[in-house]
């Protein structure tokens, strides 16, 4: 098993605040890694640093053997690390199809026809093909989260960073989302890091979980061990319950 994405001692300071403090993690190829922690633990900042939208104060990020620390986001995306956003950010002025085309054209290096074919096929994969000529405003929240994933997939990524794609949708939709994530891993051969608050989904999807609290990595391991870990319980519920 080889590491596809590796972070060594990532830290990010905002003035006096250490949002992320010396976090190292490894994503193995073909795996789903969970990144969990209470609100404000630094999960999203971690994602931003992995995807290049924020450059770390210290530490390094490797994609395979290639160092991608501090590359601008568009270069990281073209290199194969693509993120989604917790609060969905579709391009409202483009149709669903065009949303996917932009990503395919910019990242995949395909020509006009090839990129459009990739976009069409990706929307089909994500179950959005029927609505491809509509605008994102017409989609439900779950639909827009799907679009967010489809757009990232149209970049033909090696690593997908999913930021809370399940939180906020109803149970049936959450079930579909879990299936979609598994299919992304198995059929698309994409390795995934996901942050999530819905623990049931994390338990089902992730082979490994790392836990952040107040910017620090406090635990790592299989989901079953993690939920028993007193430090993790303390981070979520307070010391009294641990």
């Amino acid at each position: 098993m080889s590491a596809v994405l590796r972070a060594d001692g990532l830290s990010k300071r905002f003035g006096g605040l250490k949002a992320v403090d010396n976090v190292s993690l490894t994503l193995d190829e073909g795996r789903i890694l969970g990144l969990i922690g209470p609100n404000g633990a630094g999960k999203s900042t971690c994602f931003s640093m992995l995807a290049g939208s924020t450059s770390p104060t210290a530490g390094r990020v490797f994609l395979g053997d290639r160092e991608i620390t501090g590359l601008p986001a568009f270069r990281a995306a073209r290199g194969g690390v693509v993120r989604t956003h917790q609060i969905v950010r579709p391009f409202a002025n483009l149709t669903i199809f065009e949303n996917a085309v932009v990503a395919a054209v910019q990242c995949s290096g395909l020509d006009h026809a090839g990129a459009r074919a990739l976009a069409r096929e990706t929307l089909e994969f994500a179950g959005l093909a029927a609505r491809r000529n509509e605008y994102p405003a017409g989609l439900t929240l779950a639909g827009r989260k799907r679009l967010e994933m489809a757009r990232a997939l149209a970049c033909a990524p090696k690593v997908l960073l999913l930021d809370e794609v399940i939180a906020g949708v109803n149970p049936a939709e959450a079930q579909e989302m879990v299936t979609l994530i598994l299919r992304i891993r198995d059929e698309r051969k994409v390795s995934i890091i996901m942050t999530e608050h819905v623990m049931a989904a994390v338990m089902r999807l992730c082979e490994r979980v790392v836990v952040l609290d107040a910017g620090k990595l406090i635990a790592a391991g299989e989901p079953k061990e993690i939920v028993q870990n007193p430090e993790v319980i303390a981070a979520y519920l307070g010391k009294k319950h641990a």
Partner: protein, 324 residues
Amino acid sequence: MKLPLPPWVRPRALIALLATCAALALGPLLHSDVYIHNLLTLTFIGIAAALAWNWLGGYLGQVSFGHAAMFGLGGFVAAKAEISMGMPMVFAWCFGGVIAGLYALVWGHPTLRLRGPYFSIATIGVGEATRLVGTYWDWLTGGSSGTSLPMHPNLKFTLYWYALALAAVAMAASYALRRSSLGLALLAIKSDVDAASDVGVSSTRLQDLVLFLSGAMIGVCGASYGSYFSYIEPGDMFGFDRSISWVLMGVIGGIGTIAGPALGAIIFVLLRQYLIASYPQLYLGLYGILLVLVILFEPLGLTGLSLRVLRRARPDLIVSGSET
């Protein structure tokens, strides 16, 4: 016969552009009305400028109130190149355009980090500062007394075709920028810069490219305007109301649409000609009213209006998306 066209070019659009240009090019040979001839020439320059403004203001959503800076710079640099260096007219235009485009990059590269109203306010500052410096630098502009350009017999008459070519190039460029895969990336930047970067769009580079093209085209427009009037003066060339006029043309015609600003420019130039002659005190007020009406009822301007009419007449023709 199969033409080697990029896949995003609709043959119908190409034929329409060529046919319109051919008809307009033949026009002066069929009539001899000097007034109409002149009015059309000015309209062509207006069309080219409005379209160029729209690349930045419409496609990228960065509304500039300072484009007269490049219009004036292009005009004066071309005039200087023609007079002092003896450059042929068209070369001087292009030279003026390139300088104007570079100037746009100088102030625009840092300023484009601002978005929306913040960018617009910055452009007002740039436009006014350029006007003042332009008035002060009389080695380039001739100061308040302006610069006179060489006059040739018949030049004003032949400039009709040059201006037509300019408008046609601007139209083709508008089409290419919007319809090619670049156009989608520009719209993505307009919608959300950060999300666009996250899917591989190099926002900074694309914004700089569009800014350069827009500034250069406006500069060439300024240069041709100078040749046309054979006398230019900084207060007029760099004037704030000139910058505003392109915003108006864009808004009236349909901001961000491919051909809308051209339509807006036609309406604007013709209306102004009529209003200045008949009601010189009223004309700015009437533009104001027109602007309010457009923004209230049809944000896509005349283009939005005609789409709405077309959709009602032939609902089968227009689908919501544009996958072809």
